[in-house]
Point group: C2
Chain length 246, copies 2
């Protein structure tokens, strides 16, 4: 155990922010930390758009389905899978980029966005800031593309709101570790008992914090994943050049 592990294991997504700005020198260090994170074969396909402007944050809060914390937190970062950057590099060499047609292109650039996001989270929290990742920019990716003036071969994958916390969140329990960690090979038999235990535990947690609308994990997951959640992702990604043909 050490201070970094303690910070990581105390993770909570915060949804209550003071309007206080984040000092520029702190934001610079947070972004530079993500810039140093590893990337697939050094392609460095992540770009981050930093949004501080209040009107634009309000617009993103609408795009993401009316999340008030997105408008209230002083900084919103959009993490972009950026195969335009590599396209410019290929053009310099007289080569034509093909990777955007492949599922590998989506997966490699999305993993790298995730690594950058994980790094931003730790970096921000090291300065005492709260954060909440916002996947719901994928609810209407075209609106994000228009707002951020994103070119072809880029896709807005995920956002993160950050700022100083007003009312700290409590820590939500996780599925039991045996549904997450598998030793040497996948242990399918652990899943159903882990889910049963977690459904009870999470319902208990909602009661404890007085959330009468809280539902179990399996109910929440069934609500979301029995349909194509965020159906605009595929057509907008294709329009941007990510065709996933190969």
């Amino acid at each position: 155990m050490n201070d970094i592990i303690r910070l990581l294991q105390a993770h909570r997504s915060e949804r209550s922010y003071k309007p206080d700005p984040i000092p520029d020198e702190i934001l610079d260090e947070i972004i530079e930390s993500a810039h140093r994170a590893p990337t697939s074969i050094n392609t460095q396909t992540t770009s981050i758009v930093v949004i501080k402007d209040a009107e634009r944050r309000k617009r993103i809060s609408e795009i993401t389905g009316g999340q008030p914390w997105v408008a209230k937190a002083p900084v919103f970062l959009t993490l972009v899978a950026d195969l335009n950057k590599t396209r410019v590099g290929l053009e310099k060499r007289g080569a034509t980029q093909q990777i955007q047609h492949s599922l590998e292109g989506v997966i490699a650039s999305t993993v790298d966005v995730g690594i950058a996001l994980g790094t931003l989270i730790v970096a921000a929290r090291s300065f005492g800031l709260g954060i909440v990742p916002i996947g719901a920019i994928r609810r209407d990716p075209q609106a994000m593309i228009d707002l951020l003036e994103l070119p072809e071969y880029t896709f807005p994958v995920v956002g993160i709101a950050m700022g100083y916390v007003e009312e700290p969140a409590t820590q939500k329990p996780r599925l039991p570790i045996e549904s997450f960690r598998h030793n040497e090979c996948y242990q399918a038999e652990n899943l159903r008992p882990a889910i049963d235990a977690y459904d009870l535990r999470l319902s208990e947690y909602w009661k404890q914090i007085g959330r009468s609308d809280g539902i179990s994990w399996s109910e929440n997951t069934a609500d979301k994943y029995s349909l194509v959640y965020f159906p605009k992702v595929k057509p907008v990604a294709a329009k941007q050049g990510f065709t996933c043909e190969d």
Copy 2:
């Protein structure tokens, strides 16, 4: 600036390991840290397979194209996009999962794998361990599926080797920050000058460390991205149920 930021900004991928094992209590804390990382709408679709067995690590080093550090580092983790876990949850509720047919399903689960990987990296490094992410498990995903006994609706997205470092790596320069950070909206005009500057800087770096086979960023990227790098990803993902139709 603080100790966590210093650690993050000093990131290097290490490729030289001592055979010394990682104590179980340290590995447990590293994995628990990733288990606490945020996930899309609390679906917790990441699973991690921990491989310590030397024969199996040797097999992964072959699958990934003969990377000796994969066989030598005492621990290899495979991060899995796990929509089998959610499927079991939906089944409990009498619902049929659809998300695996969608690009959103791939992106949401892959971002979460990336966040977990970013968290594992920081956690491992906080204990003085070296790490190297291994995307090349996607070179032959079916071989990884067979080795790890992964069920339908799961996909091995990325690996990470970790251990105590023998010969520390030097820190590779990055593309200039203005190709990574964009303020309020995307700044396309910064890209080509940033790439030109970096091509020179990286070539200089290869010379400094005596790597005669080092090439510029734009050349390396052109070699890899003018074709479908890892072409088995799409057919194997489809076979696993990730069809990307919607």
